[in-house]
Symmetry: C2
Subunit: 304 residues, 2 copies
Amino acid sequence: MTREQLFENIKRKQSFLCVGLDTDLKKVPQFLLEKTSKDEHFDAIFEFNKAIIDATAPYCIAYKPNLAFYEAHGVKGWIAFERTVKYIREQYPDQFIIADAKRGDIGNTSALYARTFFEEMDVDAVTVAPYMGEDSVTPFLGYPGKWVILLALTSNKGSQDFQLAPLSSPEGDTTASATQKRLFEVVIKRSQEWVKEASPRGGLEGASSECLMYVVGATQGSAFADIRRLAPDHFLLVPGIGAQGGSLEEVCKYGWNDHCGLIVNSSRAIIYADATERFAEVAGEKAKEVQQQMESVLRSHFNI
Amino acid sequence: MTREQLFENIKRKQSFLCVGLDTDLKKVPQFLLEKTSKDEHFDAIFEFNKAIIDATAPYCIAYKPNLAFYEAHGVKGWIAFERTVKYIREQYPDQFIIADAKRGDIGNTSALYARTFFEEMDVDAVTVAPYMGEDSVTPFLGYPGKWVILLALTSNKGSQDFQLAPLSSPEGDTTASATQKRLFEVVIKRSQEWVKEASPRGGLEGASSECLMYVVGATQGSAFADIRRLAPDHFLLVPGIGAQGGSLEEVCKYGWNDHCGLIVNSSRAIIYADATERFAEVAGEKAKEVQQQMESVLRSHFNI
């Protein structure tokens, strides 16, 4: 999906909501688990996701299954993940699918992860951890229409440990602009250089800077303004609204750009809003509430 | 496995070799693939691993399957991974099994990854990426006898991008020792503080500092001396010998401690040394060669 298509979807649906499919069998409604215990062909994870997706699809533009929740069930979980991606692809082809995997390894290994998520799974985007540097990230770049979402400034308390620490440039890099930045700022700056250098894959056109996105936690408030100075055109994936306490208003105030530039994720506050047979219906209502808030800010900002 | 047990295995086998099971269907012998195409119940990934394990087990003390290679085949790959772990557990219970997964996410999500690898899979150790800080790492700590292997200074070129950059301490931390260190050094220092604070899990005794290990690439040469000043007692997992060009002698010279303190990994140079029906036999020979080099340095250093 191109940046333009993503923006069109946002305008059409008046929403920049991503629903996080952090599906935990300890939190899904009891009746789904009871059905599973009686019928081995019934997969509670997938059935939960399917119902949540059907109920929320009109109000969101993206889904983000977090791989941890699927891997926790081994092979069964992996099957549920694959079925979920396939279901979204077939039923709601305009939805942007993010594999929240936070992968990153040496070059040949990252290339395998890229192949897995972009070729085997056919998701639109994968989250990538930057600690191992350039050759751990570039194999994910260069798949036309596929996005890399790099961890920059995350929503958790641990983001303070390293991401916010001031960092000087490594030896050899003497550009003044690369010095005395915080780690997350250096990650954002450097990665934009990498994307320019990424070689094309499969004879197709290579990566474009527009398919690089950054994770910035909703809890990070005014840091959005600093990030917009470094990455004015990029989309930001913003977790941390809802259960983690971030504010939609504050995120919009500092995070907007002329293509919206924001995908705001909510997981637990939507998918676990109700634990009865009405769970999907209530999830739909919660997603609609968020969509309506978004519609209001979109109208006032973009006048559409 | 405790640190003492690991050291006993090293002394008994006169080896601190880890064989990396980076099993790529593009590189396994052709005849295994032909067998797979004729018999859908034949799993070339697992059969390759099984033969490699049987041939190399006398010469190594650990196996390290890299998850990327398994995930690349989706559900089938995940099954091969689970079968491989189970096979090692049952046939070679003294082997230390490392899931090279490089995971790390917000607290509740890292907790799920920890449960997956330590409870569902029953591996001994998992590699963890530090970028997201304390709450992304601590959920992996506190499983008695299970190890966290934190990325510190990796073997790839990209390690220069952020890991080697000088970092000042974040606001609030005013200890002089935390300032003006390179990122990988701050990661090593901080993580030792986290392990002290990790709460026990499941009513059992909590994490001990001895079950924290660091990834340090064999290509990093004299940085081992700096790391030993910060982490004198910890084991280091050392990839990058062989295909990536690191030197065993140099690693030992700077990396030893009184419990050996090194697990040196070799993947491609052992498992793909031969692509004929003799592949496992040749892998065994290559592993034996490395073991003999290790025996020689172990004897001269520990006089055993």
